[in-house]
Symmetry: C2
Subunit: 144 residues, 2 copies
């Protein structure tokens, strides 16, 4: 539940037939760093700003004439909306993912979780925890 | 000190005369998301993956024939190496910066701090704090 609150819902997505330029337009217009690539709403891959840089511009491929399907990450890890944020964060840090699609049992994309939002939320929560623990014990005079 | 440990040191940088393609090559070859743009080692701007997407590809500008100086962020905020990490993190979150150059008193670029590295480090530190506070008090039987 909190996962869906923090993720970008609904996912910004483009069809598998889209060009890299179409994907760039979707990213910029929606202010996201990655788009889900779908076929009839089913997740086929993910395509990120970094993919544009590393797989297209670096190799001088033309954005209008390159299909996103050719350069997306097709073997994409996804998570269910029931997973908890800690678990999602661990996956993202361990695997160096910036974005993780959230997918239902039928393979439909519900949203995309980004490392930026999850870490920002995590920092706020942990700071709150420390503040309340510290306040609780220093009220008892037990702090040091 | 801990700032310089976490930042990308030395900074990956390109000259103000470089093309966008040169900057992309530097980013990909060094696995960084932004390069410092310098003139004789002095910071002139910063140029990021996101700038490539939003200011170049989105507007169909040619990466080889566009100078990084035309599309970089020239009014760039920078920090001194003495600032502490908390302070740097606050600046980055409040201003939505992904990257922050670290500059000495003479304006020379020493490194670039990225939000990814700083948040990752922060999460680890805060988790350590919570674990040690919790362990300390639960050893006293004061937890609940």
């Amino acid at each position: 539940m909190s996962l869906m609150r923090i993720a970008h819902v609904p996912a910004v997505s483009v069809d598998v037939s889209a060009s890299v330029f179409d994907a760039v337009r979707a990213m910029v217009d929606s202010s996201v760093g990655a788009v889900a690539v779908t076929d009839n709403g089913r997740l086929k891959g993910i395509f990120s700003e970094r993919d544009v840089i590393k797989k297209v511009i670096y190799f001088d491929l033309p954005p209008h004439d390159t299909r996103v399907a050719e350069v997306m990450t097709a073997e994409v890890e996804s998570i269910s909306p029931e997973i908890d944020l800690d678990e999602a964060l661990k996956i993202m840090i361990a695997r160096h993912f910036r974005h993780l699609p959230i997918v239902d049992e039928a393979g439909r994309v519900l949203g995309v979780l980004s490392i930026r939002n999850i870490l920002q939320n995590r920092v706020e929560e942990l700071e709150d925890s420390i503040n309340s623990i510290t306040a609780y014990y220093s009220a008892d005079g037990a702090g040091g």
